[in-house]
């Protein structure tokens, strides 16, 4: 780590970012706080209800269900995508034309608009017009994601793995390229095994990119909305209704803005808390070394 100079004038350099982000961040958040403590009937009629929505929401079984589903989904996503992404990064070629080609091919799913990702998987998995749905049924497995909750959940998971593993792979690939050749030479002299090289050279050097990768994947999978909305619409039943969608139904479908706002803030705090704990844990580990 380089030494840093203490100088509060550096604030002038950060000021544009601060103003820009504050403009889009503070007013909306305060508006949501405002909704969350009121019972809103129409534009001119609203009553202050204090913390009532918060109490009510924390006892709402439908929301707690989708919260549980959400945690389960996010952890499944991380458990599959992180190891798979690292593995892909390790097998990608390092030099020459093939390196550039494989990089481009692997990155493509990341650059597809999210609703198009939903559309791709809808077209791909439908039992009547989709290659995947048709093939699985042809193998004798009864698969129809529009009527079977397990199939729907697995399809959404598969879609997410397809969509986002490339992000982890790309970040890890870049991290691996930043390891100086001298490290590998030293390992060769010591006759280190492939596993030892991975464990003691590559993995520690991947830490910083993995932190970004895991944080981004946690946040985005925890707020997943567009892709399952297009693919399954949250169904069948509630099997793929994740938290964002449950809230949207409440806020826009039933027009219960107050309760939805209260739960949004709880939701926001959960994400913040998990990320902060993760962030702090990593920093502590760093200091302990």
């Amino acid at each position: 780590m380089q030494r840093k100079v203490r100088d509060n004038k550096a604030w002038f350099l950060v000021l544009p970012v601060f103003i820009l982000v504050a403009f889009s961040a503070i007013v909306p958040i305060m508006t949501v706080v405002n909704y969350s403590v009121q019972d809103i009937f129409d534009q001119n009629t609203a009553y202050f209800v204090g913390a009532e929505w918060y109490r009510e929401m924390l006892r709402n079984p439908a929301l707690l269900d989708s919260l549980g589903r959400q945690f389960f989904f996010s952890f499944s996503v991380l458990a599959i995508e992180v190891p798979l992404g690292i593995a892909i990064a390790l097998v990608m070629p390092t030099k020459g034309r093939m390196a550039a080609v494989s990089l481009i091919l692997v990155a493509i799913p990341l650059l597809i608009p999210w609703n198009v990702v939903g559309t791709i998987w809808q077209i791909f998995s439908r039992a009547d017009i989709g290659l995947f749905g048709y093939a699985v049924n042809a193998l004798g497995i009864d698969y129809n994601y529009t009527s079977d909750p397990t199939a729907a959940w697995l399809t959404v998971l598969l879609m997410d793995v397809w969509h986002w593993t490339p992000l982890i792979a790309l970040l890890c690939y870049s991290g691996l390229r930043a390891i100086p050749e001298a490290f590998y030479q030293a390992a060769r002299i010591d006759r280190a095994s492939k596993w030892a090289i991975f464990r003691h050279i590559q993995l520690p050097r991947l830490k910083s990119v993995l932190v970004i990768g895991v944080l981004l994947r946690f946040m985005d999978s925890f707020m997943i909305y567009t892709e399952p909305f297009v693919l399954t619409g949250g169904g069948p039943g509630n099997s793929t209704t994740f938290l964002s969608q449950a809230l949207t139904q409440m806020a826009i479908g039933q027009f219960d803005i107050g309760p939805a706002a209260a739960f949004s803030l709880i939701y926001y705090l959960i994400v913040l808390l998990v990320c902060y704990a993760f962030f702090t844990a990593i920093n502590q580990l760093d200091k302990a070394k």
């Binding site: 380089q2 970012v17 958040i29 550039a100 608009p113 077209i123 791909f124």
Partner: protein
């Protein structure tokens, strides 16, 4: 089979897994509706450009692509202009509240969109920016700027402080040093950052849809109208989807060497 063959095989299988769904999308965009609904065909028997023809001749369709490109470019430009000095400050100085500011910036990526969309709509309507490209670009800055600062700071921390000090001794002013010497040294970082800005702005739908109605409506929102009274026009939907993939491929083509060169990010 030796180790490097197994590596190649693994990668090839993964790439096949990535491309089968895309293959299906592309194939479907060249089929007519009867063929799509009539049964499964691995290759279009009646090869048709009708779906693409519809998109390229109808201005309400192709303007969606233009709108998306405009706000994504604006977002990239704004993000880089504000994030570069900020990342420099984070990489070189300690100042009051720096770590808190950093986490606060990042925390804006974590707000669940569902309920926050309504206040966003109200905010941008009240300042008269509703249905403009700049509104979407600014809203997307909420998540591209923190990420850009994070990535750029990693690259900047890789440049030794001695470079700055030598430049000052040689009589460079800060702006001149920053533009002439420092930025060229981290151009890979700028490329990678631009790629990530593009990635998160191009693919986003909720903000873009909420903040626009006609003049700045993005392609992703226009696609939803393929759902008509007669069901979904799958061929047209697939063709529109294929066209949204192309700009992304171009962008990754331009930055491939920067990403391949590698980056280790500084701050965690």
């Amino acid at each position: 089979m030796d180790y490097s063959m197994r590596k190649k095989l693994g990668l090839a299988l993964y790439i096949v897994f990535l491309f089968i769904p895309i293959y299906w999308l592309v194939i479907m965009s060249f089929k007519g509706t009867e063929e799509i609904l009539g049964g499964l065909t691995l290759w279009p028997h009646d090869f048709t450009f009708d779906n693409y023809h519809t998109i390229f001749t109808d201005s309400t369709w192709y303007m969606g692509y233009v709108n998306s490109m405009i706000y994504v470019s604006m977002n990239m430009a704004i993000t880089l202009v504000v994030a570069l000095p900020a990342a420099y400050a984070f990489s070189r100085y300690r100042f009051i509240g720096d770590t808190h500011l950093f986490f606060w910036l990042l925390s804006n990526r974590m707000a669940p969109p569902a309920v926050f969309l309504l206040p966003f709509f109200q905010l941008y309507s009240s300042v008269g920016l509703f249905d403009t490209h700049i509104a979407v670009a600014l809203a997307h800055c909420l998540f591209t700027v923190p990420l850009a600062v994070w990535i750029l700071e990693g690259f900047m921390s890789g440049v030794p402080r001695e470079v700055d000090e030598t430049a000052y001794i040689d009589g460079y002013s800060f702006p001149k040093f920053f533009l002439r010497i420092f930025l060229p040294m981290i151009r890979s970082g700028i490329g990678v950052t631009a790629f990530f800005c593009f990635m998160f702005s191009w693919v986003e739908l909720l903000f873009a849809r909420t903040l626009t109605s006609v003049d700045a409506k993005p392609i992703a929102a226009i696609m939803t109208r393929t759902v008509g009274a007669a069901g979904i026009d799958w061929g047209l939907l697939a063709a529109a989807g294929v066209l949204t993939i192309i700009p992304g491929v171009l962008v990754i083509w331009f930055v491939r060497n920067h990403v391949a060169k590698g980056f280790a990010l500084g701050r965690v």
